[in-house]
Amino acid sequence: MNSIAALEQQIVEDFELFDEWEEKYQYIIDLGQKLKPLATEYKIDDNKIKGCQSSVWLHAYNVADKIFFEADSDSTFVKGEIALLINVLSGQPAEEIISTELGFVDRIGLRQHMAQTRANGLAAMIKQMKLYALGFQHKTV
């Protein structure tokens, strides 16, 4: 398993191929369409992160000290963002997830589009992933 920093660097390099916002959008939609759907048993209100524009369902589990994430959204674009986050964070040790700053969100130019749609769920989702990691860390310590 690569480190969070290495996985982030890979995403940044992938996005360097795109000059236009339109191309980034299309790539993220493509990732969203390919994301494995979350099993219906996990698409429950307890797992729901409600945003202004879309809803996200986030399920987390641990195997030893590694935390794994699965998620879904009613928005394909948000699913694409989820795919990026899962790619970077899922399977990482709890303490790495808690301490990471996820610089790629800024570096690939996603932050400006997050701001324009106050809560498409992404910011709330990052926070929730860190909270899960914190919860599992305390359980396993």
Partner: protein, 418 residues
């Protein structure tokens, strides 16, 4: 008249567009198509200049200085109250209160008139298509007083069910607050009829004119509404300023909203006496620059070919509804007979936010979501809509680009397993 013909009216859109510098901007290198006018309108150069002229040439606090600048600023500020009086056709400039916007106007009336007249067991009546800002202040009031908030329902087309009103207005109803034009559906409500029914039972009516003020000619005496509010930024003026109209006899009876300078007549530690209306409701140094720019926006609207502008907006609405509804997978939301130039729609199996972002990549500014009217979306059983809202400076050609890209968005975003 065909709904598909272009340029029926003699209204000169190309000339009008020159007054709005932002319309020449690009978004991601593409010509900006601004269809988010229900959120806020763009500003003509004269309004932008009015703000900068004020700060460049006669910025001073008003109504207290003895000096040249203060006199000049005070005169410019005071003139605007007369302009608003003329614009809304109120009886007196004393009936015009400057506020931050429609939201503040509603809160002001709920906190003053509402607190004075609504008691335990009473009722406040609103409609199913209110913006959150015409729900929450009344909800807070009702919770505080132990009163009940009742709602006039709407049908599937997004029209109020007027037959229900006679049953909903009771002896306990103390105030009715209705949106004139719906921000998410465009429906123009029959407020005059509602006001007549309410007045027959001695109940005052507040009209939320946030959307209607730019899309129609407002005459508060003809409507006979007791309160009317609008926000400058939705009718070519700056943000942070708006007006509350209230009948003088009601305003005079109401307690002040906020305490501070300007709203007092005399102050001692034992007792304060309050200023006359409208000043009783205007505590503190007002938003002088934006009031003056609001005056300029009113001048602009009143001097332009308003009849032509409104006819053009109506044609834009018909043209967009006609062409959008022809696309397979588009369902129009809000098909009232009497509509302002707002078109809301959903796409089959496609998330509104995803489609809105697709349009954004093409330089088209729309809004997606519940538009601060969650109860409407719950009533229609949809999570949200894509909303394109037009103003007189929009063109048929811009709508063609929207229509073309909505079709492309559907093709691009449709679920792959379908």
């Amino acid at each position: 008249m065909s709904t598909t013909d272009k340029n029926i009216s003699a209204f000169d859109v190309a000339q009008v567009r020159k007054d709005f510098p932002i319309l020449d901007e690009k978004a991601y290198g593409k010509p900006l198509i601004y269809f988010d006018n229900a959120a806020t309108s763009q500003k003509p150069q004269v309004v932008i200049d009015a703000i900068s002229n004020y700060y460049s040439h006669y910025n001073a606090n008003i109504h207290r200085g003895v000096h040249f600048l203060s006199q000049k600023a005070s005169n410019a500020f005071d003139d605007v109250r007369f302009k608003v009086k003329h614009f809304l056709n109120s009886r007196s400039e004393r009936e015009i209160i400057f506020v931050r916007g429609t939201t503040e106007a509603i809160n002001l009336v709920a906190s003053t008139y509402g607190r004075q007249h609504v008691h335990a067991g009473d009722e406040v009546l609103i409609t199913a298509m209110e913006h959150h800002s015409n729900i929450v202040p009344w909800q807070l009031l009702c919770e505080e007083k132990g009163a009940k908030l009742k709602v006039i329902p709407m049908n599937d087309a997004g029209e109020l069910m007027m037959d229900e009103i006679d049953f909903l207005i009771t002896d306990k109803t103390k105030i009715i607050s209705v949106v004139h034009t719906s921000n998410s559906l465009g429906t123009i409500n029959p407020v005059k009829e509602i006001i007549a029914k309410a007045h027959a039972k001695g109940i005052p009516v507040f009209v939320d004119g946030a959307q209607s003020t730019v899309h129609s000619v407002i005459d508060v005496q003809d409507l006979d509404c007791d309160f009317f509010a609008f926000s400058a930024h939705k009718m070519l003026g700056p943000t942070g300023i708006g007006c509350l109209y209230g009948k003088a006899e009601l305003l005079e009876q109401m307690p002040p909203y906020m305490g501070g300078g300007e709203m007092i007549s005399s102050v001692s530690f034992e007792k304060t006496t309050f200023n006359e209306i409208p000043f009783k409701f205007e505590a503190g140094t007002p938003n002088i620059a934006d009031v003056i720019a609001l005056g300029t926006a009113i001048d602009y609207l009143m001097q332009m070919d308003r009849t032509g502008a409104l006819a053009h907006e109506h044609e834009l609405l018909n043209y967009s509804m006609h062409h959008l509804s022809k696309i397979d997978g588009v369902r129009l939301i809000g098909t009232a007979l009497n509509k302002a130039s707002v078109v809301s729609f959903v796409l089959k199996d496609i998330n509104a936010f995803d489609a809105g972002m697709y349009l954004d990549t093409k330089g088209i500014a729309v809004r997606t979501g519940h538009h601060c009217t969650e109860p409407i979306m719950t009533r229609l059983n949809i999570p949200g809509t894509i909303r394109a809202s037009f103003l007189f400076y929009n063109t048929f050609e811009e709508i063609d680009v929207l229509v073309e890209n909505v079709a492309k968005a559907i093709a691009f975003l449709k679920p792959q397993h379908a």
